[in-house]
Symmetry: C2
Subunit: 418 residues, 2 copies
Amino acid sequence: MSKQQTDSMAAADNGLLHRRFFLKAGALAGTALLTAQSSAENRPTWMKAPGKGMSEAGVPSRYENHVKRLPVSRPGTTGSGASRSPLEHLEGIITPSRLHFERHHSGIPEIDPEQHRLAVFGEVQRPLSFSAAGLCRYPLVSSIQFLECSGNSGALIAPSPVDASCSVLHGLVSGSEWSGVPLALLLEEAGVKPSGKWLIASGADAAGMSRSIPLSKIYDDAIVALYQNGERLRPGNGYPMRLFLPGWEGNASVKWLKTLQVTDQPAMTKDETSKYSDRGEDGRAELFTFEMGVKSLITSPSPGLDLAAKGLYQISGIAWSGAGRIKRVEVSTDAGRTWAEAHLDAEPMPKSLSRFRAAWRWQGAPAVLLSRATDEAGQVQPTRAVVMQGRAPGSFYHYNGIQAWQVDASGAVRNVYV
Amino acid sequence: MSKQQTDSMAAADNGLLHRRFFLKAGALAGTALLTAQSSAENRPTWMKAPGKGMSEAGVPSRYENHVKRLPVSRPGTTGSGASRSPLEHLEGIITPSRLHFERHHSGIPEIDPEQHRLAVFGEVQRPLSFSAAGLCRYPLVSSIQFLECSGNSGALIAPSPVDASCSVLHGLVSGSEWSGVPLALLLEEAGVKPSGKWLIASGADAAGMSRSIPLSKIYDDAIVALYQNGERLRPGNGYPMRLFLPGWEGNASVKWLKTLQVTDQPAMTKDETSKYSDRGEDGRAELFTFEMGVKSLITSPSPGLDLAAKGLYQISGIAWSGAGRIKRVEVSTDAGRTWAEAHLDAEPMPKSLSRFRAAWRWQGAPAVLLSRATDEAGQVQPTRAVVMQGRAPGSFYHYNGIQAWQVDASGAVRNVYV
């Protein structure tokens, strides 16, 4: 293939290719079969005897045992900490429920659904109590949406880049199909008084996690979630029921939902004052920064998924925004000097992960990979420098800066700042 | 509420309600809280001590242990049979991978991905061999789509209705996000000769499952699937790679994909002649009936999910079509005398499960629940009588008739023919 032909396939500099030219750029992963017929006739061990039998539940291959969450607890505790999704080993926009991130403040309660009730009271005409079985009689709604901890990517505020994997740095975001009852229906049944403006949601964990939510969000798209990815919620994600607030910081989607008190003002709970508030360099704290910003992330290549040899690769990643749909994602392999538009699977769904992909020919020289998302509200993912402006030291919530992965000449990938 | 008001909420006879009138039809599942405040202060056992700690993988609640697949093997074998999805316990359109149906002909091989290769040969310019790692370098595509065994619902050909659950009758259909390499890319790289018209796909199981697929389907939307619901395929669904043919009978989506031979004609393998061919009453067999018909199914209420008391209920179910998107679903609670349009979550995706729902007030009298799907090609789900026309006795593939569930005066639900 001539230099001229190769150049005509470029979507941006440093090897980014138009997707339709990916193949024509040369032999790829397919290795020529010298003796195709003999290969076809070669019967491996596992074809020589019947395999394993039927089962009540399928399990992953033992060759995939390395794909697991990264659980880290605060020293001296077992129940305060987080388990991060292994993003660099996942594809598409659904996170398997067993690998969905979790963040707990006092561990995972094991709740008997027969004993659990959700109480709705406060500024309402009719205080009500709901069991999980009762809620399942309402017409449910289902949506595929992301959930992100507002502390996700907080390690990126460090003055020097932390040498860690994509999971460790960014694994507090996941995508699921959530099914539940529109909370507006339950409030309609309870009859909110004119004085009702906020909802104080609290959980049945030992931490009594509680957050104040403006009723406008409840009427917009909040649900009491009962199912995740088709099955009932797992205990780590709120069984038997949790609040789910699409696009808002994960902590506000209170798990093990126990009470919903309608009030005329926010409660200023411990979980929205001592934690989950953004501190500015002027010493003031900003409360109720619920919506997650527009963000994207290349999951492959990423640290630990080093490039074995020169040649053609898929750049694959996820993008999301609390404001709605992802409109486009651009990628760069030359640290932002030039950009190419990435391919998105189908039409992005609102407040969902979107998977983006680009074709890249790595020529063996050092490269810096970036992605930059734009949402339907017109918000463009900011650089790290912009995100860091005006933050108090150590204030790590709501970090959505552009992530840079450096590929060195050996093919090793690591976190860098550009 | 007056009789007149109640009638104005009807969407069809026998209690089917317009969705927006669901709540106004009267007190629902919410029980009045006599002492809301005391309920809020009541701390259950699980709030009095920290809960369980972090983990590498989340697990379902032990209170959901009854939600599992139904594995049945042929007598005398361990590896020939099926595991059915517990459809009546699931919601939305994603089936958790552990609960995805499986159908095996000689068990589940445990394949080492380092040793496994996919060989592409036959009527091609360049025979090629691919490892799973090599395939992961191509730009993948992801889609949420159904997979259905062509033998699903075959029990409905019995002359008298079988008394069984929704899972037992219909559990050979599931929905997933499938991610993989468009097979057209691999064939483009191999260079199909003008003589190439069919592809013979075979698997690395002991049964050597093999099927003939016309190349037109491959160029349309076939993929070599590597990921299901975000993680790598599980062994029961073809690890490390399977063919995936959206909308076509599951058996043709060959698992543990080992060889793809391009040929000028179909191979007439055992798996498309002795099995998976439709026999007519004239004694002839129809081969290559790949596309799955338009179909729907009420998953709740269904046998085993009996109605505990009169009142309001969600009717929830799934609809799908191999021809593309579901356009609408209608439901009836009076055995088809009157119909109401069901609610669909968002815009249905092509060749995917779609979840439909309707609100129903059960008044305690016997009722017969039906659903009827229409797809974007204009196909309407047929009655059982129509589906049975012209079938040879015992020919059970491709049954997509309307399912009827009878609710008796006690609230018990069972399979009936109407």
